[in-house]
């Protein structure tokens, strides 16, 4: 009977494709929007991920994220270095500045000052040149996303001069970094150089990045740093989470994406529900005839379930393929750099599809089960 059920469904091409469209559209909307949402909020932690060597981030107690920070006195570096379990500690400066581009426009940029000697604090990989270019005078390394923002005409950024807070800066390399939440241009430079680029205030050391000695845990060393220095110290994972949480708590993004996801679900229920109901209504005489002939209700339930399962499986697959295609198609766009589909998202959209089909299938099934076999004689 399942074969008959499937043929009944696929034989009505208009409704079959309508149902597939409904499920595929819902899956696409839910999966794609959740993917963008997750990747976007994860960018709240991009500052942490772009400094892969740092196991512990030390900061002023009021600092919350890599971008929401309050500078410390430079003595904080020595205090951290004196804590047992700290293998190394380097200064890290993060500030904003304005840069005047070749066309005369002003662009807000993030300045990141990394340790002069070790260059700890820079992204792991470079797109062009090497990290050592920072040893040259007035050198900055731009992030690859920033190249698209500052050089829209496709110019080669290497060797380009910038006016950075009235100081000269020369781009000598391009870093392969994860874009920030705001996709702001990021310029990496040595810590000592960064102090020249940002306006002078008494304290300009925003973070101390630390590594832990062998046999110690990052969490244990972070606790010890807090105890001994009175500063705030977080492990890499804790600080990354703090960046994500800050975006979730302080922006309307979860609400906006949540609304879109709910709309995807509602649209799915509406399209699939309506089409499924029309399909059942068109075939109610046939279902009635089957019941009269001697097909049990449990077999009818099996038939409608098989129809729902087929629509769900194909529609869901199309929706997920659509999302993968979307991510792949836009992978060259710097906004979508590094986007991936976390494995939990297809499971969430699968659950949504199952719920959509359970609701609409149940509504459709009710009318079939309520159909009296005797109605075929009327």
């Amino acid at each position: 009977m399942l074969w008959i059920a499937i043929r009944m469904l696929t034989g009505d091409a208009q409704k079959f494709y309508g149902l597939l469209f409904g499920i595929a559209f819902s899956t696409l909307l839910i999966t794609q929007q959740l993917t963008i949402f997750v990747n976007l909020i994860e960018r709240g932690a991009s500052g942490v991920f772009n400094a892969p060597e740092a196991e512990v981030w030390v900061m002023d107690p009021v600092s919350r994220t890599t971008d929401v920070n309050y500078a410390m006195p430079s003595t904080a570096l020595d205090e951290v270095r004196s804590v047992p379990g700290v293998e190394w500690a380097v200064p890290h400066l993060r500030a904003v500045a304005s840069v005047r581009t070749g066309t005369g426009d002003l662009e807000g940029v993030a300045i990141i000052g990394v340790d002069d000697a070790t260059l700890i604090g820079m992204p792991e990989n470079m797109v062009s040149e090497t990290k050592s270019v920072l040893s040259q005078p007035d050198s900055v390394v731009i992030d690859d996303g920033g190249v698209f923002n500052l050089f829209e005409n496709g110019e080669d950024p290497i060797g380009q001069r910038l006016e950075l807070n009235d100081q000269r800066a020369v781009i000598r390399g391009v870093a392969d970094s994860i874009p920030s939440f705001t996709s702001q241009v990021v310029l990496y430079t040595k810590y000592s150089q960064a102090l020249n680029y940002v306006p002078g205030t008494r304290n300009r050391l925003t973070f101390v990045l630390a590594g832990v000695t062998e046999g110690e845990t990052a969490a244990g060393v972070a606790d010890r740093i807090e105890e001994q220095t009175g500063l705030k110290a977080e492990t890499r994972e804790e600080f990354a989470d703090a960046g994500v949480d800050f975006i979730v708590e302080n922006t309307g993004i979860p609400t906006n994406f949540g609304i879109t996801v709910v709309l995807g679900f509602v649209v799915g229920v509406a399209i699939v529900g309506l089409t499924f109901s029309l399909f059942i209504r068109d075939n109610i005489k046939q279902f009635g005839a089957l019941k009269a002939i001697g097909v049990t209700n449990s077999k009818i339930v099996g038939m409608v379930s098989a129809q729902a399962a087929l629509v769900g499986a194909v529609g869901y697959a199309l929706g997920v393929i659509g999302t993968v295609t979307f991510i792949w198609a836009f992978s060259g766009n710097p906004f979508f750099k590094g986007f991936y589909i976390p494995w939990q998202i297809p499971l969430i959209s699968l659950a949504a599809v199952v719920i959509i089909l359970a609701i609409t299938g149940w509504i459709a099934l009710r009318s079939v089960l309520n159909t009296e076999p005797a109605s075929v004689f009327r």
Partner: protein, 235 residues
Amino acid sequence: MNAESAICARGIIRDFQAGQSTIRVLHGIDTDIRSGEMTYVVGESGSGKTTLISIMCGILWPTEGEVQVFGTDIYSLSDTELVNFRLNNIGFIFQQYNLIPSIDAASNAAVPLIAKGMAIGPAREKAIELLEKLNISDQANKLPNQLSGGQQQRVAIARALVHEPRLVVCDEPTAALDASSGRRVMDLLREVAVAPDRACIIVTHDNRIFDLADRILVLEDGRVTHDGTDMPEDH
């Protein structure tokens, strides 16, 4: 119950609710349907013939009364038992055929066998054998919408007989057919459906085919007013 009776109906009453009021459609009908006969149930619209046939074949519960089909009190069976009883013992031919539009004629004819659990291949083969008897095996692979009304009715007949039921129930089998097609279908039905161990009940008001009946029950206002081999003079 009469030993020859396929169906023995006693004291059948059926009421329907219409808003606040109750309408009695059948008023205590007692009748027997015998195997080996083609029995017509005729009457005006609203006389209760469809209700009676529905009750006699186990798809509509009577308000009162008892129906035995081949010795089984069908309304004492559980729902599942009754459904299985219908599947094993009764073949249906509906006025609008109710063929499944997206499967071909052979598969439509094979539906009862598939419902009984037979694999599609053998079920189709058996259905095609029957379609051959009905002279439309050349249409076996066509969808219902590619067949004429008469051909669709033959597929419906094949579906009603393919599982070799002991009772065949037809609802207005000629209503959607022209006179000659209707006559041919009824001749065919008489040839393939009537057997010594099988009863055939036909609900109709098509007086063009009354002469093919072995027995005619006339219903008026929910009561049997005539039971004989011919139609009464005043009809």
